[in-house]
């Protein structure tokens, strides 16, 4: 009797570990890794979804940590010239992490720095730095 119970428990644990296990582990690992991120911006050519989100709000005087992830098939870039922030080239499937502290409130354009599609010039968004 107790032997079958032990067997049942072991099978249940094994099955859960191999099905729900990877899902829970991946989500937990990712959330622990991104706890200090201010925002993540996905990069795609404009006709495939553009930056998302395209509008990001941060507080002035506080450290900002952005992760720009290229989920497209072509190379993109990411720069906020007014804040002297530039990620350079971000290849397909790669990502860049940018850290900076905006000193002045205001609205700042960010855009793609690589000619990625015929709509490349529309690949842009706004970072708003609020006074608090």
């Amino acid at each position: 009797m107790s032997k079958t119970i032990i067997k049942t428990i072991i099978s249940a644990v094994l099955v859960l570990a191999c099905t729900i296990g990877p899902i829970v582990a991946a989500l937990a690992y990712e959330s622990s890794r991104t706890r200090d991120l201010t925002a993540e911006i996905l990069a795609r050519a404009p006709e495939k979804g553009n930056y998302s989100p395209r509008f990001v709000t941060v507080a002035f005087g506080q450290k900002v940590k952005l992760r720009v992830r290229n989920i497209d098939t072509v190379t993109h870039g990411f720069a906020i010239p007014a804040l002297e922030v530039d990620a350079g080239e971000i290849k397909a499937g790669q990502y860049a992490v940018l850290e900076f502290t905006p000193e002045k409130p205001g609205k700042y354009d960010f855009y793609c720095t690589t000619w990625c599609s015929e709509f490349h010039l529309q690949m842009r968004g706004i970072l708003e730095v609020t006074a608090r």
């Binding site: 067997k7 570990a17 191999c18 991946a26 690992y29 992830r69 989920i71 499937g93 990502y95």
Partner: protein, 474 residues
Amino acid sequence: MSEQNSKNQRLLGLFPLNWRFDLASLPGVRWLLKQRWFPMIVILINMFIFIVILMSGIMGGFSSGNYSFGIMFVWILWWVLLMMLLVPVLSRTWCMMCPLPSFGEWLQRLRIFGVNNKLGGLNLKWPRRLSNMWVMNFLFLGTTFFSGFFTVKPLVTFYLLGGIIVMGIVLSLIFEKRSFCLYVCPVSGFQGLYANMAMTEIRVKDPNICAKHKKKTCETGNKKGYGCPWLLEPHSLKRNTYCGMCLECFKTCPFDNMAFNIRPPGTDLLVNEKRGLDEAWKSFIMIAIAIMFYVAMMGPWGWIKDWVRGNTLTGWLKFISVHTAFALVIIPGIFFVFSFLSKLFSGSKEVRLKAVFVNLSYCLIPMGLASWIAFSFGFLLPNGSYILHILSDPFALGWDLFGTANIPWTPVATGWLVPLQFITLFAGYLVAADYGYKLSLQTYTDPAAAKRGFIPLLVLLTLVVIAFGWLYGG
């Protein structure tokens, strides 16, 4: 009759076709195969991997193929392993460890490791008219319509695998045992067909013991295991095609009469059991797809790529129609012409043309398999290094689990690619010709007629290998 003349036959005049070695006679192997937790434990490990693949389809880079765990694992690793190692050497060993139908099977059994021969679900019989490869033929061909998306859009791979899993669960609740695997799973058909070439088999050791065993527990099941989930009669198994190598018969046989044999490749091609047009067409479809994949993926024709990738709907529809016609009509048509010539040359009156057509089609199996192996080299060598990257960063989230995330793309031994492909194709050609002759002999029985009937077949095989050589050699 066919049994007799295959008794002393040799492959390429060298290896005796009736040579066997039972791996389960090695110490420890039979013990392992009889354990209830084997192969279930391997299935669970693969389930883990497939869950990660499914997750990467919805989490990771949505469109960057080379950096997608799902795409790389499924299409570079899994597919290549299937074609190069699992099927040609180990028969349907993939089905032994496949996690795709497990949820359905668990629901039927309400057990994971244990035995419960009172299976749940509706347990209906699969329709007899569909108890062949046709459903799989069409599903597989249909799947290749989307081949232009599989390697670029992780989400498409997600839908494909997810679809197989869901279908497996639904059909397992309606139909008995592994009906889904036997007659529906798109991965099943080509494994079944090409497993005829495999160098392993599960067979009975001594048929006399089975003859005396009235209960036939391998069919009905007992406390030790399930009655054959693949609806076979393990005691009289003759061909690999529908054997999923689940190992239940090793567990249920009270006399340890099952063997896991090593054998010369391709001996099943000569076994005349359940041969039919369905399997012939499977052969044609596989060859057509090998050609189409090569042309679309490695060929220099940009406009074909555009069609296959579905850049425009009309282009994609054109691709589907051309591809379908090629696989279902043109290639079979060419083969029909040569079968007709074979019968004509043989001078035989009694043998029916359909028998010639069906029997001889089995010599396309070594040729087709070789073309797939050659094609897989073209995938593996240039792209294999991506595997290291995606292992460390499976969801394209910037992880570096094993420190290999930033390994640059390094094509391996690409200088060897074309020579390897040529050697593979040539080996396939030799084996195909050898079995072609044996099949001709089996069909016409009279050796002189068989020789004459073999000539058109040899011409066809030569044309096929030249065509593939031209295609792959550029």
